[in-house]
Amino acid sequence: MAVVTQRRRRFSKELQKQLSAWLFLAPAMIILGLFLFYPAAMAFWMSFHDWKSLGGHVWIGFKNYYRLLTMPYFLDAVLHTLYFTILNVPATMTVSLVIALLLDTDIRGRNFFRLCFYLPVVSSGAAVSLLWKWILQGGELGILNYLISLVGLPIQDWLGNPLLAMPSIVLVNVWKQMGYYTLIFLAGLQTISPELHEAARVDGANRWQLFWRITLPLLRPAVLLNSILLFIASLEQFDQVYIMTGGGPADTTRTVAFFLFQSWEQGNMGMAAAVGYVLFAAVLVLTLLQKRLFGQEIAY
């Protein structure tokens, strides 16, 4: 008898423990379940349907994906996204790394500089896009044109010229985000023990060798994290394109994310869902590839 009641008591105590844990989990889990897990699963389901915003939907198997991969309009968007990524990732990495290295020397006013570089990061992407639309304006009224004409360079229609529009968006993106990646590099640099540099210097290494032989290899976790974050951010780039060029001129800045948005706008829900999963697949492949490439696990 005593054993049974004891066991029963232990069981009810365990149940109580479970209940109290779930009480704390419930608010977050209900929201995530409804607005994260359900839509993510639903998008997968929808991507196999011809799903219009008005009217019903029909199961069509892989046809959305097939249509996408044979549609020049979509393949162009893929190319534009790749072009953006190929410009954006190395540019941001290089600029942020250089700034981080400069900030990591014994300079005065490090906090002031850090603050300056971080201002664009806290600003809204939408507001900043409007601001840069004004700065990049073609003709003599654009302030960038004014500045480059001071150095004797020819003025440009930055957002109106099909060759320059995408690089201009990349420029704005680098300007806006470099402060963020700089801070991650800086945090990485500060984990490198100064003694290593000391020792190498005593052995006669110059700054160049110090950087390539010691700093950069030890910075690997930060490089990996930054490149993963940057690749994902590049694939999802939307605000700047929507506001500064609207996909133009001549469709040269229409990215995959923008294509998805347009599919939604046209009420082509199944297609938009399929594009979402193509993006997701790209993000997954890139993330895994980079982890493999760097041969290192990272906690973030």
Binding site: V98, F113, Y118, A273, Y300
Partner: protein
């Protein structure tokens, strides 16, 4: 930091030159970060003619506040501003509650499937928000939240990053503290509210700032979920109105006044609470 630069027996000219170059590069970089904002500020105080007069004038002359009056009163921007404040504060408040509760459960409680659920949650962080765009839009319509502020509040009031952040921080609170309260007969909810929440305030502050910033700046979801003018958030209103001012020649001084209104509140928050911003980045970033 100062230990990093070696004390050389003979200071060389090269080092001084190097340092000078470092300062020069940093100053140029900082200037390029700040200059667009100064140009925005300057333009917002110019009248329309000055903005399209050559040669370019750096400072407004005459100085006018007319643009601010026009964009604020001409469009009922106060309404949109208030919407942004409501949305950002509501999401932030809810986020703190949901994430600190869930973070507490993951850090201090044992329950069935804990590891599995946590792994799945972390896994979802790689899903791009765009994947959810269409189903979430349809769901919001079905829930009757379309074109309502609540439609841009509720879906974003819990997040995996926040849960992760809170779990990491709450794990560092000693168990003895919680057990002592239990012995005194405190209920679980009371322990959470009176012990866990106050002790995790640094992490909560970081989460609050990031959530507020993200929602103040949000553009895509309001664009998709809010339709009528009086429901638009500030960013959405700004982009939409700037198109109206773009008929023919864009009236840039007015648009810039709007951009100042959109950016300035967050600058103030940022300047006041910088250390939480900077700490948050390294908290969420390089740990390995």
């Amino acid at each position: 930091m100062t230990t990093r630069v070696t004390k050389r027996p003979f200071p060389r000219l090269g080092d001084a030159l190097f340092k000078g170059l470092v300062y020069l590069a940093l100053l140029l970089g900082a200037a390029s970060s700040v200059f667009p904002f100064l140009w925005m500020l300057s333009t917002s105080f110019k009248d329309r003619n000055q903005a399209i007069t050559l040669p370019i004038r750096w400072l407004p002359d005459p100085f006018t506040l007319e643009n601010y009056r026009l964009i604020w009163e001409g469009n009922d921007l106060a309404r949109n501003f208030l919407n942004s404040v409501i949305v950002s504060l509501a999401v932030t408040g809810l986020m703190l509650i949901t994430c600190s509760m869930a973070g507490y459960a993951f850090a201090k409680k044992s329950f069935w499937g804990k590891e599995l659920i946590f792994t799945i949650l972390i896994g979802t962080m790689t899903i791009p928000g765009f994947v959810m765009l269409v189903p979430l839009f349809l769901l919001i319509i079905r829930l009757g939240m379309y074109d309502q502020l609540i439609g841009v509040i509720i879906p974003f009031s819990a997040g995996v990053f926040g849960i992760f952040l809170m779990r990491q921080f709450i794990s560092t609170i000693p168990d003895e503290l919680l057990d002592a309260a239990r012995v005194d007969g405190a209920s679980e909810l009371r322990i959470w509210w009176r012990i866990v929440v106050p002790l995790s305030s640094p992490a909560l502050a970081t989460l609050a700032i990031f959530t507020f910033q993200g929602n103040w700046n949000a553009f895509l979801w309001p664009l998709i979920l809010l339709d009528s003018k009086d429901k638009w958030t500030l960013m959405l209103a700004l982009v939409r109105y700037s198109r109206e001012y773009s008929a023919g020649l864009t009236d840039w001084p007015i648009v810039m006044a709007g951009v100042v209104i959109a950016i300035l509140p967050l600058f103030v928050v940022f300047l006041a609470l910088q250390r939480y911003f900077f700490r948050g980045i390294t908290l969420g970033a390089v740990k390995g």
